[in-house]
């Protein structure tokens, strides 16, 4: 399982919303292969019936008073945006067929 092919690496790169050069993909396949071969050592451990740990502390959802607080000012919230219009984030068009407005 630890040998990981170029196609598989490209599938995962697409899932991760990255675009890598051929050279980077080859390097990634090599590095992931080495790391996953090391990770194969876990397979030897019997973990039948062992509960997984997602978090080390018991996580209850803490409740608080339902009191109103001021949210981040919308102008401040967009201050770091690469492109903003008023208090909106501007992104490339995602819905086809409408005129630029």
């Amino acid at each position: 399982m630890a040998e990981i092919g170029g196609d598989e690496v490209e599938r995962v790169i697409a899932l991760a919303r990255l675009a890598l050069s051929e050279e980077e993909v080859a390097g990634m396949a090599r590095d992931l292969g080495a790391i996953l071969r090391h990770a194969e050592s876990l397979a030897a451990l019997d973990t039948e019936g062992v509960p997984p740990t997602a978090h080390v502390i018991p996580l209850a959802t803490p409740l608080r008073e339902d009191s109103a607080v001021s949210p981040l000012d919308p102008e401040i919230a967009v201050a770091n945006a690469p492109r903003a219009a008023g208090t909106a984030f501007v992104v490339p068009r995602v819905i086809e067929g409408e005129e630029e407005g």
Binding site: V12, A16, L18, A34, H38, L45, A79, N80
Partner: protein, 489 residues
Amino acid sequence: MAAASETLEEFRASLDSGESSSRALVEAALSRAEGIDERLSCFVRMRAEGALSDAEEADRRRAEGEARGDLDGIPVAIKDNMVMEGEESSCASRILEGFVSPYTGTAVERLRDAGAVVVGHTNMDEFAMGSSTEHSCFAPTRNPWKPDCTPGGSSGGSAAAVAAGLVPVALGSDTGGSIRQPAAFCGVVGLKPTYGRVSRWGLIAYASSLDQIGVFTRSAAEAAEVLEVIAGHDPLDSTSVPEPVPRFREALDGDVSGLVVGLPAEYFERSEGCDPEVLAAVREAVATLERAGATVREVSLPHTRYAVATYYLIATAEASSNLARFDGVRYGRRASEPKDLGDMYRRSRSEGFGAEVKRRIVLGTYVLSAGYYDAYYRKAQQVRTLLRRDFDAAFERCDVIATPTAPEVAFGLGEKTDDPLRMYLSDIFTVSANLAGVPALSLPCGFSRGLPVGLQLMGAPLAEAMVLRVADAYQRHSDHHRQRPPEFA
């Protein structure tokens, strides 16, 4: 060049006696940084104007008899993954270049509320992913003891800044050893508290179930003091522990008689590839504690050899999810003239992230993807349970566990950058404390080839007071923490 920073106590004495002022201390820190940071690259950004004005405020408070406490007016540094209102933070990544935070993180806020003066952000491996501070979009930080060696990482800038006497206190973050390993490499104290002891609000996330903020200082007593300030429950971090914060300094009585120090065989005789000089220095430190009255007992952490694999599966899975937010929409870098939304995401991220960050995002995406989840991610979470149980059992037989912090002293710049797995394996002794969530501290315990060796002390969950007590007692019987890098003394 201004003089190297002194201990917190000496700083305070000079402020209390009126011999110095906060403004003078901050000016000295800034000018010293200017003088030597071209060589070391500890800082990525200085905050000269803001720091001087904060220092003047501190001096005014002191003159009016309203000093806020022991840290009032003291210059400190924070890692570049911590945010402060109106200031840039970039996680040493191109993707966050120019990001100005609209708010201040809790740990930084608590330090500032106590009067500490933030002089700048320190260098790090990009998004805290690395063990050498070479994966920074800025220059790599250099080790003050030997500038052709790394300071360790990922909080290498903070560790080197304290070691080189630029500041007496710096904050770092530790996900798999990122405070303790650089503390060991730079010959300072580095404390990673219990998971949840310090709020993560305002810490840019790497792996949320492992990340923890902690401190760099020269002595354990100073670390105790700073921890008292930054620790404690925070409603803004639902994983922060709702437990009262002890007065850690009160536990530092110098007495270890009757305490049991556990030595896990897996970190000593059964450890492969640990430098014999490192092991010898650590054993000598344990012998010092024994002479001071502690009892030494062998304990076992049988799943240690699985820790690195477990860590890299869990941490990268969490990272792949956390770093999905860097998409070029709300902040950070956006690729120019994207064809469509997908193209914008992919190119913004690919241009903005460095090679190591991409590697971890891809690995994390892989282990979470359909068909591999059970074999890798779920399996790693189960092994994490076994590692936690190892610690639970060990702490029934001892009060603290002593080990080397790293299997080696500081390695050379460029020595491991071509071999990610080899770099990952250098975290062998530190990742378990993050997986189990226990507090752990590294302190200087000797030298090998002119470079500092770190002793790691780990405690039961929330037992920082015990860890600090043993570390402080050791420092009363040793002077390794008083050594300064000759070039920067």
